[in-house]
Amino acid sequence: MSDQRSRVSKGPLDEAELAAYLERGYADASRRFFARAWDVADDPEAVAQVAGQGFDDDIDLEDADPTVRALLGLVAERGGRVRGENLRRDLLLRGFGESRSTIEELLTRGWLVALPNPGEHDCNLNSVFEQKTFLQRELAVLEASFEHLEAMSQQQALSAPAWESATADDNPATVADLELNLLHLCALIRRDPLKLNKDGTPNRRSLARVARGVSMPGSHGEIAGDLDLHNAEQLDYLAFLVSLSRELGLLATQDSTCRTDDDALGRFFRSDDAERDRRLLDAVQRLRFWNEIDSLHLSRSPSHGVDDEHFSQSESTGQPLIGARGFIISVLRRARFSDWVARDALAQLCTQLDRQYLNRTLSQLPRSPDPDEFIHAVLERTLVWAGILQTGAAGDGQALIRLSPRGARAMGLDHEIAEHGDDGCLIVQPNFEVMVFLDNAPASVLHALYRVGLRRKLSDRVATFQLVAESVQRGYALGADAESLIALLNERGHTPVPDSVAFELRDWERAHRRLTIHLGGASLRHPDPERFDLICGQLEHDLRDSNEQLIRLGARDAFVTDADHPAIRRAAESQPSLQLDALGDPARSFYFVDPLVLMVDPYECDVITRVELDRVGDLLEDESSERNLFYELDPDKIAKRFPDDPLGGICDFLAPRCEGGLPAAQSIRLQAELDEAPRFHLESEVTVITFEEIDTAERFRQLGEASDLIARRLGPTTYAVVTDQVPLLEELVDELHMDQSSTPFEQDH
């Protein structure tokens, strides 16, 4: 039991735990090592007693170098026991560089003790030193030494500096600022899609329309009048925002245009803060259309510039770096630092942990970026712009870095972030302006306001939105509704929504609902009004418990709002029915009755067919009845409808709508009308020679006289013979002993 208890101990190594380890855990060689280091008898009891009583050559800091002081200070700070790797990492992050040899020296002196791993029974410390595996073990100070250390710590003899005099840069970029920029950009691109040039770079005029309200990292307030898209850093940051939005799915490119995906935007900003932080970090790692190496080059020497492909939304210059970014982020996760650390030390840590990986990954890239340069670019550019890391400086000017609170949360580390309360964060004014205090405003509220309003101003932590008829109705079209909006404004407002504003919000909703578009439904038609009335009655009955409805549109027409509802299937199966799909293949509803005259049943005719018929032909009203419409195709109308290729266009329209395809006679007639009339030549009294075998026919063609004999080859075995040369042919077949058949061959081979 004592053995088991000791394996889960924390704090310094006491006598009982050491005795248990000596009994089962350490090999005899380790006991001899301790006896030698502590200068006591090679006896388990005597060795174990040292843990409680100390030893003559115990910790003495008089001549100790700063690294030893810091190292022991960290051990004391951690309660007397710390994992070797973590001790080395923390010393590295606090600017003490590589400390492996110092740790080894303290272990050799016996000031620190490398403990057996759980389940290990014969830990030989000599082997541990030989194999340099002490960093993979728990390291502890003896209980007696720990009391000594604590006393020294109170006298400030130890030092484990934690950059207490560090100062953060003014106005650090935050995740909240980034989110506001993303919201703003997506809201403006929703109204005015971002155009991309042929090379994928954002069209500058188009970008300028959406970029004025963006705020640059580390600066409060929008760029506004300072926007200059010839400024490489501004253009670079905007490219970063667009690329990040695409990775988050908030923007999608199609046909050289970036458009906002409102569903994705809503899902993202309505998710909880921790989930957003996680997704944001994930998207930053996966950035494909922006890379930090070029970005850092730009900031250091904007005059030199980089290739346009850096700003291109079609050149995935960032994609090869995804793995390497992920590596650095994983190092930051493992570093688990909670306070300022030296920037260079953090970069060093990234290279120390697995330098081979970065070297290997980056060397495969086209430009083989330098690993150190890449690490600095990710730390100082990507993660700082994303608000994950914050920069600062120590009293001595050393550059420092720390995780922002939301950055720590994104990494899954401990953080101290208070939840947003339900306190007020906005004021709705009678002039339809909404002032939002950003520090208290949850992202979901900002998203709701961006959906229905136009952001007019962004000053220090206060954004002002204007509600106008167009913006609010656009918001309603995106899913907002007046009652929910008024409730949100009242709930989050410091003052109630003015009556005049609430009235207008409801009135704009009424205007918005004057036109409703039902997607995903099915139109129903039946020529018999009485029969149709019965069908509709049954459908209304079947739909009464669902959210779907049947909308009657006249005596013979109705619309059901869900095309896949089982009630429609039942209705179609219970009587003769025809299924049409405007997005699928058209029904075969054309029957040609005369050249260029076709008959169609209007009830079996889909919308596209019916409309197109009017564009390519004339209704023959005298011949037509309610159930049978006759159309005569009009070559002039066809030429106007399909100006590039009238014949091809009309054939493509007619063929799938005729049973068995477009009749050949109709297509020849159409060719005659729309293209050149097909020409032919009629020849009588023609002599034709047919061979039984293809091989013979080929040999015949190779005869020296063939050019004089053959008028035209009519098939693999058949030739038309020049009429005047028939005597020559007869002479030839006779000379060649060919046998003339009295009957035609059955088939041409």
Binding site: T516, I517, H518, G520, L524, G584, D606
Partner: protein, 93 residues
């Protein structure tokens, strides 16, 4: 063809207007699109559902933001089957 059949026409979107004036305004706004429209009475239009995006774009340009309910219909089975068959056809070639 002479038989009276119930015609179920999928893949269409219904544009339902509050009154005839709104319908005329709507028709005017989407006229440049040269759509395949079936007009039903003085309040309703049927249009192919895959043209709704361009209709909305035109309407929004005119300052009209209609209510859109329901989801875009999924492609018909035939189309899906064709999509599945396409790679096989290429292999055969």
């Amino acid at each position: 063809m002479a038989e009276d059949v119930l015609v179920v026409h999928r893949g269409l979107a219904l544009m339902l207007c509050e009154d005839a004036a709104i319908l005329e305004e709507t028709l005017l706004a989407i006229e440049p699109l040269q759509l395949h429209i079936r007009r039903l009475g003085d309040r309703a239009l049927l249009v192919p559902a895959d043209r709704v995006d361009s209709i909305l774009e035109n309407l929004e340009r005119e300052g009209t933001f209609p209510r859109v309910v329901g989801a875009m219909p999924a492609p018909s089975n035939e189309e899906e089957e064709k999509a599945d068959e396409a790679p096989v056809a290429e292999e055969a070639l």
